[in-house]
């Protein structure tokens, strides 16, 4: 899609690739360390960073000339969160009564 610079995207692509592999390694290693409730948080935060890297740089959202694509992604994630969070409004509070 963006064909301004011909050689610099390569460096960026390999850099992102390395970051993704590193993130995977960290996730794997961290799982074997006792962090209590933060194990899940760490794993999900790293996963989200990896997903963002793929979406922004490999799927070229970062270079997109219009905001529409970002709007599509944000709306989708928003409604996914509605599903997850409002369901938890039920499951998280059943024990209260």
């Amino acid at each position: 899609m963006s064909d301004h610079s011909k050689s610099s995207p390569l460096k960026m692509y390999f850099g992102i690739w390395a970051a993704l592999l590193l993130g995977t390694l960290v996730t794997y290693k961290a799982a074997f360390i006792e962090l209590g409730r933060y194990n899940a948080a760490v794993a999900l935060i790293i996963a989200t960073i990896k997903a963002l890297l793929v979406a922004l740089f490999f799927m070229h959202i970062k270079g997109a000339h219009e905001k529409l694509l970002k709007l599509v992604v944000i709306s989708t994630v928003f409604f996914l969160f509605i599903l997850l969070i409002l369901s938890m409004a039920d499951y998280g509070t059943r024990a209260w009564s």
């Binding site: 509070t93 059943r94 209260w96 009564s97």
Partner: protein, 549 residues
Amino acid sequence: MSMATTTIQPVERENYLNKEYGALSWLFTTDHKRIALLYLMSITFFFFIGGFFALLIRLELLTPAGDLVQPDTYNKLFTMHGMVMIFFFLIPSIPAVLGNFLVPLMIGAKDLAFPRVNLLSWYLYIIGGLMMLHCMLTGGVDTGWTFYTPFSTAFTNTKIVEAGLAIFVTGFSSILTGLNFVVTIHRMRAPGMTWSRLPLFIWAHYATSIIQILGTPVIAITVVLVAVERTLHLGIFDPKLGGDPLLFQHLFWFYSHPAVYIMILPSMGVVTEIIACFARKRIFGYSFVAFSSIAIAVFGFLVWAHHMFVAGISIYAALVFSLLSYAVAVPSAIKVFNWTATLYKGSIHYDAPMLYAFGFIGLFTVGGLTGLFLAALGIDVHVTDTYFVIAHFHYIMVGGALMGYLGGLHFWWPKISGRLYPESWARLAALIVFLGFNLTFFPQFILGYLGMPRRYFQYPQEFQVLNVLSTAGATVLGVGYLLPMIYFLWSMRYGKPAPDNPWNAAGLEWQTTSPPTTFNFEEEPIVTWEAYNYDELDAPRKQGVPIAR
């Protein structure tokens, strides 16, 4: 006062209907207008199937005893009535017929963004429809259209998997239609057609498409889970195996509540177009109406558990969903206020489309208000799973969505077919529909409040009078629906040829021929005027200047 003009156009100009003949030219078409007609024929077919089941239900309910059919058969009747009407009639209806036909025309485009995907969408609908037909003919389903677990996964021995897969396939059709509309509206507007000049019909379909795109996949995965659970006995929804039946309901209603907005939003778009034209006025509060469509789509996703108030969810969740359900009524109310304000001091004409629009406003309001009754936890505990709920949603779906669909068919019939329908018969049919509808469904509010449960084929003697009234109404309603079928077909051969703009209506679709050519416009339109410019359109008439056509 009828507004149809008497200018006659030559009939044999090339248009999308006579460009090519033969079944293959229809079955392999990518012309959005032909695909719209393919859908029109298919959904009419399924409407009559669903209506047939309704007829049997109402016949059974003429008497308090269960004497027409077996109990299991009755279960199948109301299940199939619901599934067919919702998935194979209401959800496609306006978007697939009127939306497909009009969206490119209204924005000044030659076709939708993805014409072949559009055709695929129709084929998926047909495949899903055939699967459902086969399912019905080989035993059907008896779980209610809501196929709650664990009955549907562990106990019933009817054809759940097949029905579910039929819904899955048809759901894909719905998703692709929505996707096509969103991309078309973003990318294919003619020069000068800015977002604030779009007809509100387009805004309504844009909002509908958002729901189709984001909601339908969730019922798709739900159906997959039910099929997998049923065949492999997994236990995700089965309490005996540690699963939660309510999880099914959460996932099911996450789609099925927004689905009702898929069914009503396009109809609201139609009504907006009709009211502006037959009151000869700009829509009051254009931006309010436009944004309320989007608001309905968004808020519609936040309220699903109001279908589960008595199912066993936590009371705190019930409070949250009750509050949110009140909020979702606000944008709908905004629309009703804007339509009313548009009518105020308008120059009102009572052609058949307008009669349907008036019917819509009244009946949708009743249906919507009774929805608020149901959103109140205290009332809901009393009337849930009674005929009150049935009356509520039929007021919206039939009194609202279906009347909008019929009004739209009448309004755009000259454009679609190049013929005028007979106005007197159309007004008569609209009146019969309105009277028949109220006779059918108003008694059901009372029945529900008095305690008659839904999905029961026998009832206490004291409910018989109201049930008989309801069945009588259903018969009248049926006649009302048959009439347009007959005279629309009649008009295709014997109707007066229609001028390009018989209503002198605003909108790009009226700037081209009736019927349009395959690529819609001779030259790409360049839009320099605002939407609903009725004051400009009517100025020559008001000054006594004859209108040139």
